[in-house]
Symmetry: D2
């Protein structure tokens, strides 16, 4: 059985099962999304690709954008960035603030909110026009000039983003935010507001499955060693408090967002992106988790 058949099979199976969980209520603007959207896009480093369902519909990629901001910051700063952010999983959400306190403002990894906020701060210090330059980077790695922030979603996030404001100021109290909190958070909320389709996300991050090279023109975006390390962090930290479970069941580096998207990377092989807005209790797409578990069970994982 080939990939297309396997994917078709799993897509149909899951589509016919009950769709559990809840659409996020954290961000007012996202709470109105149709919970029955279900899209999958698969693309290999040899340019084979298949899409299923709503794979061309744009949705709010939310934390998946943190893979791009990490890539850009790592490309610029190199290993110096690990003085300001760790690479360890965070245990439970519950402990995030304690750990920031115990670790004196050094977030555990770049994918928890605290870490992604520090990444924004790094980019602001390093780039001439931080938000515009970041967008240019995303457009370049995606061959997709249409990528843009969604002011409506960013505004919606800001209106209820008190915990992120708290995190940013808490880190700043330890000296690990160098720029103005408002500027850092403005970038952060914009970053999370980007809307892309499964196909676009899959294309955008295909370089992580291709040793750091863009598949379309073979240009090196980030070197091979750093590519492996970004994948490694996605493996241990990419799915919030469910990263261990995701590694256990799916066995691929991945990154989820509360918009219901999950990106998974099989190094040297392919990317696969699933989108279904209903989230499980850990904030990860219910159908996305299920789809990817079945997929690697029927094909292969890295373990």
């Amino acid at each position: 059985m080939n990939y297309r058949e396997i994917l078709t099979d799993i897509y149909e199976t899951i589509k016919n099962e009950e769709n559990k969980g809840q659409v996020t209520s954290f961000i007012p603007e996202l709470s109105g999304v149709n919970p029955e959207h279900f899209g999958v896009f698969f693309k290999t480093v040899n340019n084979d690709e298949f899409g299923f369902g709503s794979f061309n519909d744009k949705f709010s990629i939310q934390s998946i954008a943190k893979v791009a901001s990490l890539s850009l910051a790592y490309k610029i700063l190199g290993k110096r960035m690990w003085k300001r952010i760790g690479v360890e999983p965070s245990g439970t959400a519950f402990n995030s603030l304690v750990q920031l306190e115990a670790d004196k403002g050094i977030p555990r990894n770049p994918f928890i909110n605290a870490g992604a906020i520090v990444v924004c701060d790094i980019l602001i210090s390093q780039l001439d026009n931080p938000q515009q330059d970041f967008l240019s980077f995303m457009r370049y790695i995606s061959d997709n000039p249409s990528i843009k922030f969604s002011p409506k979603i960013a505004k919606s996030e800001k209106s209820t983003g008190f915990r992120n404001i708290a995190l940013c100021n808490f880190i700043k109290s330890f000296g690990n935010i160098k720029n103005d909190s408002e500027e850092v958070l403005d970038f952060y909320f914009n970053l999370c507001s980007i809307e892309m389709s499964c196909r676009e996300i899959s294309n955008c991050f295909l370089f992580l499955a291709n040793q750091g090279r863009k598949v379309s023109d073979n240009k090196q975006i980030i070197n091979k060693s750093r590519t492996k390390r970004i994948n490694a962090i996605m493996q241990t930290c990419g799915l919030y408090d469910e990263s261990g479970e995701f590694t256990f069941k799916v066995g691929l580096p991945g990154k989820s967002g509360i918009g219901g998207g999950i990106l998974a990377i099989h190094p040297n092989k392919h990317t696969i992106v699933v989108w279904s807005p209903k989230l499980n209790s850990k904030g990860n797409s219910y159908r996305g988790m299920k789809f990817l578990e079945l997929f690697t069970t029927k094909t292969s994982s890295i373990f």
Copy 2:
């Protein structure tokens, strides 16, 4: 350059560098070991193998034995065991007790002490002669009838193992230890007391690089899916609070012990075991970490 040359090269490089860290002082009996021991053993699923330095000297494998107890319990109980132990990394050591409390006595994963103690409890409930049956299992997967507990080391561990006694009774207060605490801890201390050489460890766990089959006779020890999952847990939880760092730098499933050994698995390829008793501040072998980082940088990781 082939594996032998690469390994030789790295071995010589590290041997000539300063040997940092401290031999464990937790267990009196281990504190007297010669800190300059340095052994490496590498074995592929095709039976190629190379050893360097003290690779034939036995040392206390400590927590590495937890890979064997987990394998046996998982083989017997299957997924039912995940009702009693999680598969998430634990964040910091600091939080372990809080998390046990928040999670009502369910340890975060089978490799932290709390989880390994629950695995012992499971084996006691499931086996007729728990300790003897466990030894038989280890001897069988190793083709090595000489494996045995070290009463001297076990006694030494018990004499200072108050924190483990605390953990076991704390879990029991939540009802997640079913047998008598003393019996469970006696098994646990014995488990950790086993002494093996790099070569013996490498042989013993080669089935995890071979889809669950023993290389010597191709017999299935544990099925393919469970094998992948054990590797996945080693990836996210195998090196205490440094599991993220190990994934980031080395990129292979691994398990360390405070005796100074580290086992790493490259699925479908090989196992590699390094032993050097001096530990870094996280309790992992200083030279072991360094060796494996250089090794996967010059060869390949799974990411």
Copy 3:
């Protein structure tokens, strides 16, 4: 209105209201007690005294005994004991283990279990026949030779006391338990097993309302300054996580036990003991809290 009238009035009022809460289920032997017992005993330093309801019935005094063990240890060691135990409230129960870890095995105060266990350890080191000498002390301060341990209750506590075993060993792992854990816990469980009536408790601790002197013969049990300090610790730490609430509502130093007793001290005036087995969610007697709140509202507190 005099004390007798006020007390009578409150007793009748509460007796006619619904009796809420749950009898403790922690200790099997206590769970069978009649939940409708309701006793009060009041005694002034001038030997005026009144009793209501079941004030002559013996019940398990549990943690109230910790006031006696603290008094004896403080009498012997003086301020040296504060190197091994603090005098700060513990915040929430939830944090007790974290705080023991952060404070390297120094319990926050002598009334949380951890602290009371260290007090037992101190007494074992200081006394020739620790348990017998402690009983003699209690009998002496009470003029009551009938006080004794209840082997049945102690055994019952031991059978489910896994958390206390955990605490004791956890503290021992930091070096702050000097004697054998089993001996310390045996003393601790015996201490908590003592059975006394409201009248007996009231007599026993009347010296704390009398500047450290026994009222019957004016003998100094513990000096005036230490007496004030024991009262101060009762004020901030005597009612578990509800110590602030008790200070706020009742305004007297107090100590509760999960047998449903509460002892309160009005320095220079009187002691009052209430017993009613149903506990609120914090583990303190529902009617006891209510009685004492009404009592100091109608009479006076120290604030």
Copy 4:
């Protein structure tokens, strides 16, 4: 020996001893204060009063102002305010954020920063001109129209007050801040910026030693029962993580500020205010603690 002699004696003793600790570095504007200032003011409910040293010099009262904001909020809201703030001590500073999380945004008590911020939020909701009305209240209870905010100090606090911004937004994320964070924090920073002398503070809070009545004109500021409860909260929570120690050593309700002031209340007797800018490791005035301990040892405490 009368009060004047005792106070003179203690003042001289301490003045001649080494002055330990550090002036606060949290607030730039305060770090330049002369560390050798040392003032004491004592005033009874019968209008006897004595002052020593710099008792007429104004200093930044900081957290002592929280006693006034609590009094005003409690006067207005009554017991309804305990739905939004607790009355329990907080354990350690370390846990403050964990507890806010565990308690879903309900601060443990009105004297930790989190609680005082919620009190500001309550006053903003309840008062027409919150900041002005609060000043009027303080001037009224003090018979002192000169009390005012210090814009210079408030600005200085704001410039480094990232942790307070974090706290306020964290609480707001739980819904327990109703007004705009900036407005709440602006009030909070102003509140803490007030400058008063020992004499002025002593006069201002004398009503707490006088069953809620102003001594100058016998007007009831807050009723007797609430007065006792404010004193009770000062007893268990008034000196940060050293509240237990203060109760233990001094035995009076008290409130300290990082400007180096400590206010203590002896109900029905007097107030006493000590000011010396050098702080111990818990953030309380080194000489202030010492002075009050000697004072109650030579006179009396409430225990």
